[in-house]
Assembly symmetry: C2
Homo-oligomer: 285 residues x 2
């Protein structure tokens, strides 16, 4: 028997993973949740049929979401993670002793429970005493908050699905308000390659540049995501991701990473010309 997982997101391109078995399948109040086991990617989570993370390459995405801002802001004490139900972002955050509080707001409790059961390498860090889990809509959670966090990381699904609200101008405005005067917002920014994704990149960037004085985009190679070329948004009230980058290796910064390193921090912001043009096009609008 051959069992293949096929994403089929782009109607004319397909990325498929041969699967040994389906470990979990449940329809929650919000979405279809599946966890599979494969030889090449290990176990992987899909939400509504789209790959969210695989054991083989989740370190790339999660390290880039966390260690880039943590190497710029000199004193992060309070963090808000919106989405991130697989726990990968939290796992990277708890490596920093300086962080005192990590609020995680995930809309779908079933995602967390499924990951705790089947993906313990990412989900185990929810047990850290500094982590406070809330199962709620991210926008509703953040609306009443002012001047609360040093860092907000938005790790949601794609803008065409359940995560849509996390890509609105209203949401980004509320993030700005909930951040301290030196706060940083990191969000997953989709891929620039396929045309329909590139349009999403432009929409996100337009809203972020309208909401924050500093909004730069950086990139990584995430093979299990469409095109493998993934972007992240670095939006900030004060710190610049390169000018304020702490290039020296302080004792507390010597974290074990498998993708992120200091030269790569700078390299990740050196975007291809066609991506720069995509972004420049909307910066003036």
């Amino acid at each position: 028997m051959d069992l293949w997982f096929s994403e089929g997101k782009h109607q004319s391109v397909d990325f498929s993973i041969k699967v040994n078995q389906q470990l979990y399948s449940q329809k929650s109040a919000f979405q279809q949740i599946d966890i599979f086991e494969s030889d090449v990617f290990g176990r992987f989570l899909s939400l509504d049929g789209e790959v969210m993370m695989t054991e083989k390459d989740e370190f790339i995405y999660h390290e880039m979401m966390v260690h880039v801002p943590m190497s710029v802001h000199p004193d992060v004490k309070t963090v808000l993670v919106i989405g991130g139900g697989d726990g990968g972002v939290v796992r990277e955050l708890v490596k920093y002793n300086s962080i005192a509080l990590i609020d995680v707001v995930e809309i779908d409790e079933l995602v967390v429970r499924a990951c705790e059961a089947f993906l313990p390498a990412t989900a185990a860090s929810f047990q850290d005493a500094r982590v406070h889990l809330t199962f709620q809509d991210g926008l509703r959670f953040i609306r009443p908050l002012y001047d609360r966090y040093d860092l907000i990381i938005v790790d949601g699904t794609d803008p065409n699905g359940l995560g849509e609200v996390l890509f609105t101008k209203e949401f980004y405005g509320n993030c700005y308000k909930a951040l301290r005067p030196e706060g940083i917002l990191i969000n997953q920014h989709e891929s620039p390659f396929y045309q329909q994704d590139a349009i999403a990149v432009q929409k996100i960037h337009r809203k972020l540049t309208a909401s924050f004085p500093i909004s730069l985009v950086y990139q990584a190679h995430v093979p299990s995501y469409p095109s493998g070329h993934w972007l992240f948004g670095f939006s900030s009230k004060r710190y610049h991701p390169l000018a304020d980058f702490k290039d020296s290796e302080g004792a507390d910064r010597q974290l074990a990473t498998r993708y992120y390193n200091r030269p790569l921090h700078k390299g990740a912001f050196a975007l291809p010309t066609y991506v720069k043009e995509l972004l420049d096009y909307v910066e003036d609008k």
Copy 2:
């Protein structure tokens, strides 16, 4: 009707492109040559069933093969291209007025003729008066040559196929010999992500570091290649790709590019930790 091109190179992962029609299909003395037309990737060439180039993303691969060394070596006059039957590398080279001679050695004349007929956007530059095409085995061509080229670009197929001879220590030694004292060798270096490809990366790097005093690896996002994370080798007798990089924008260097730019030149050498570890492991051997 649905027609899908499926590479199936990695037995447990598949990347497929929906095809409108097959434009060309021929078995040459060396390999199976196919050209297809698709909505998302435009026309694309496959050799023995593996995607070699697509109209949508070939600019990434070809720009990175050419403009990186051309921005380091201050005076390239003679170039040898081995493989490169689609003409993409040559198209980027002829943009430089300073180059006087481009020898192209492609083993399979039928690849060139098929690309001239169906992929004119890459193959048209073979008509440039500085280009000399020879249909011959690359190793046999280079064996008798000494002190001839400023730049050699090896644009062959994968090391497990027809291009195998272009990944041997004997071949790299002959490239060294055929290069001038300030010469540079660029080769496609496979992908670090899937295990079988990572082993190929290590084998290539071990041989290159044994053959050249300077051997660095750089990367690009090429979505149509396996994993989308592609590596290139920069091997050199004298010039260092970063220390000798001409960062200023000379008048003759203002080439129109869609991927390559000067900040990206430096960023491309900032490799992820896991890739550095792959390479470091074999550098001492």
